[in-house]
Chain length 303, copies 4
């Protein structure tokens, strides 16, 4: 696997050369979830030894912030009394893509000039929803082996700073250092220390107009070679050059990989350290939205 | 356990006499989730033998219908092109309580004259959210043993009709017939044949102004005696009399039980029949909404 | 002007032959509002003799109904106390097109195979809003002479029933009977007795799946010949045949006329009858939404 | 009238001593709109000499900004083709109170320890809306004489800066300088140069955490003595001291005056200067929202 730094341009070329289009048939909309077989789910289940669980979700982002320009809506309503009883309901509204909400991207979310996943054109997307690569394809849930690669621990630094992105070569080194081997269908979780970044910086990660540290596009090679099905990350792509415009996000349309953006990985990293292992069962249960481009999500890891 | 039909008035009296207030301390907000220990989660995991999974969620209810007077919102937005790439995002908005959306009720959702869960007054609920019994208490996810009680199969009828509600005595009989024993902390899933009802009726279950068949309030006794932590159901309470105003919904505030309303149980029932067993691992991953009264949900069962 | 019934096919042919494209320049986005000059506004003002005012708006349609499948949203929120004072705010959300909300249609709202107003293609419309014919073109408000044609009064019947649509010939007869002469730039208000219809019918006008009585497409000829700038109506197009698919709604893209749908005209009709005149000052103040396709509206008439 | 600077504490005392509670009956919900009689509307109409019109509304605030933490929502949806025609609709959603949206405050919007307008308690406000002082009371529209007081012109400075608030004494001087006399029922429009402020400052007026220049609480005396029915302003209250917590906003609950916040007054000021007069006809047409606390608004002035 990779040892030297791959450039953005090389990452883009790699992307074009190694996409998964047609791998599971030209009409496939499951993408890399095809790698999660019944056996893979049993492998995931076999990792649960203690019954400990942890959420990888940030709170529903209701508060406006520099990295949350369109905050989620939460409106309460009381129910009238009837026979001496009462109740309360609420409304949730969210434009979950962006830098605040923990969410999963469906295969239709992004594309480049060659098209969406499996080569479809953007014409499949209408104002009523997408006809291709919708989140509903994954409505039966995603249960697989999760592997956490802890970048701050490996580097001995609190967080990934701007200008020093995580690369494919580094991910390989971290896996070796953690004694973990990636296997096809895994959910790759890359912890970059977002909470530490937020505590150290005046502005939260992902603030509008501020450079965002994160992953280098070469990570695409690591994802593809490890045949990961999901990428779970707290920081996302470092500011991208033109050579690989969508950066690691390209894994969506090129490899059919699900992305879980803005995950909360600090508690997971702490639990991995405490348990002394970096593999676990991971459960992703996206809302079943016909034609939807993704879903807000509460990923749960089990140890 | 119960063999004869308990009246609504008796159910109400039972409710008052056997609530769980104080059982886990007067400041407890986890409710019956306290019964789901690490051991319980391991028990759930041990039920996964084949790696088969199935969703218990209906689609995000975007279409107005007689049982969906405030349909969910789904609005699409294209992202501008940048360096020859593009994308699409969307907005989801939902008032998920009611008869259409698969969702979980938090402990604050309903109450009676004695108060909310653990005896708190409704004063804990403000326009900004609830300060007590919010869904965020369950943000680490609910992983437990699920048990399906299949009423149509037991009765030899396609669905539960109006006037013939499911009772506690019947639930006991079904469990025996299925050869399954309820254990503390289980998620009790009661399948009443909602899809068959919808196919047979001119109007979908839960339509405004139409009587709703479903469970009898005596089921409260079954829930309490079995020490279930969650009730998952497709039909909900049959039209209630004054004697037990909130019916089986009372399990929320009296017992600290989570309710998963409008679950899709037909596919689960088919899978249980196929596998010849009615117990499985169940995963509930509610959105982490501070002060929220519940969450839309995609429950996943694993066999 | 018209005396005999024009067929749907003739209305469609008339539409193609007499559109206003290019009349005010090929880049014009004001449409028939060009007819409302400063002099026209002064004419409108001159009609105010008594200082009486009346609203032509229905209530914000928050309640689900057979003619309101996507009800408007109204959510309240209390403001925290500060120095012993408090307050309350709310959120309004509305998909105002349809059969419930009193609203104005902008020139981009509908089109046919020949294109939008002034011949533009639908490509001007993106997910971020329209680049042509947006409501913001009318942000300075529409103040003009309003003329009410009272169909039920003329017919001696409470409302316009299905199968007996209002025609161009009838509008001419009503104007004569009321002693009013249409002038260029007028707002034509056609009262069809919607409230009487609602009281007489089991379902409100505009209910899904129910035929809708209203105007015949021949009214397009009346609008064009009278050079009206605005059409205000309570019932809209009667169920349309293929010959003139958009019916009287075609006035939007063909003539550049604003439509005010679902107006409340019963109180206006009563006031006209009481005052013994059918002309008045009309004020339309649409919200200033960049790229918007229209606006909810509270039209006010002054006598 | 006032000549010397009234302190915040004196303004608060004045407020308590001179409220309008009971002036139009203890059950009155129209407030100072009672001063707008048919004669007053005719007076307004008589000011229209040229037929010129101008909007006082900012654009629907869809873009997140430091003074717009909860931006308005605008979502587009294409209509399916039918018989070769098509259309487009959209959804507007707005939490209009705050510092961005031009809107009118209803009488229920704010209160102090003595209560809401006419002495009602906040108990009249429920999660379904307000039962007192709702915007629907003004559904027939507000048509009155508008008077613009142009502070920047009077001061010879581009905008009102922090620490130099507009006072009652200054308003009197400006009116004299403009040669205009306030009359009961007038809409008082106070232009403070918000656009100039925005151009000169790094952050727009009303940005979170930034002091806001504006009016001194003594303006309450000017409003009450002039018996204005409406206050239209571009900047609002200067940062308030505890002595008069709601500042000029107190006119809502104490005097029954409507406030039009975040008005766009620069074009109006330019037109007043050009026409050489500071009085005009003003039209306010709030949406008819039952139980609503106000409305987004497009106020139109006619000259």
């Amino acid at each position: 696997m990779t040892e030297t730094l791959m450039s953005q341009a090389e990452a883009q070329a790699y992307l074009k050369a190694h996409n998964n289009w047609g791998r599971w048939g030209k009409d496939d909309q499951m993408g890399a979830m095809n790698l999660i077989t019944a056996e893979k789910r049993l492998e995931a289940v076999s990792l649960v030894k203690k019954g400990r669980n942890v959420s990888l979700s940030r709170p529903f982002p209701k508060t406006p912030a520099p990295n949350n320009p369109t905050p989620a809506m939460h409106w309460m309503r009381a129910l009238g009394r009837r026979f001496g009883v009462s109740g309360v309901i609420d409304f949730y509204g969210i434009s979950y893509h962006g830098q605040s909400s923990t969410h999963i991207d469906a295969l239709c979310h992004v594309w480049d000039d060659d098209g969406l996943w499996n080569g479809r054109t953007p014409d499949v997307i209408t104002a009523d929803g997408t006809q291709w690569g919708s989140i509903q394809n994954w409505s039966q849930g995603i249960v697989t082996r999760g592997v956490l690669l802890d970048v701050p621990k490996f580097r001995g630094e609190p967080f990934v700073p701007q200008g020093k992105p995580v690369t494919a070569a580094e991910l390989e080194q971290i896996a070796r250092a953690e004694g973990v081997v990636m296997r096809p269908g895994d959910a790759l979780c890359v912890y970059s220390g977002r909470e530490n970044y937020d505590r150290a910086s005046g502005l939260p990660w992902g603030s509008t107009g501020v450079p965002r540290p994160g992953l280098h596009a070469s990570c695409l090679k690591f994802i593809r070679e490890s045949d990961s099905s999901v990428l779970v990350w707290d920081m996302m792509d470092e500011e991208r050059e033109e050579e690989c415009p969508w950066g690691t996000h390209s894994a969506i349309f090129a490899f059919g990989v699900a992305l879980v953006d803005n995950a909360l990985l600090e508690p997971l990293a702490a639990l991995c350290a405490e348990e002394g292992r970096y593999e676990f069962m991971l459960m992703l249960c996206p809302l079943v939205v016909e034609g939807g481009t993704g879903s807000p999500l509460n990923p749960i890891a089990l140890f």
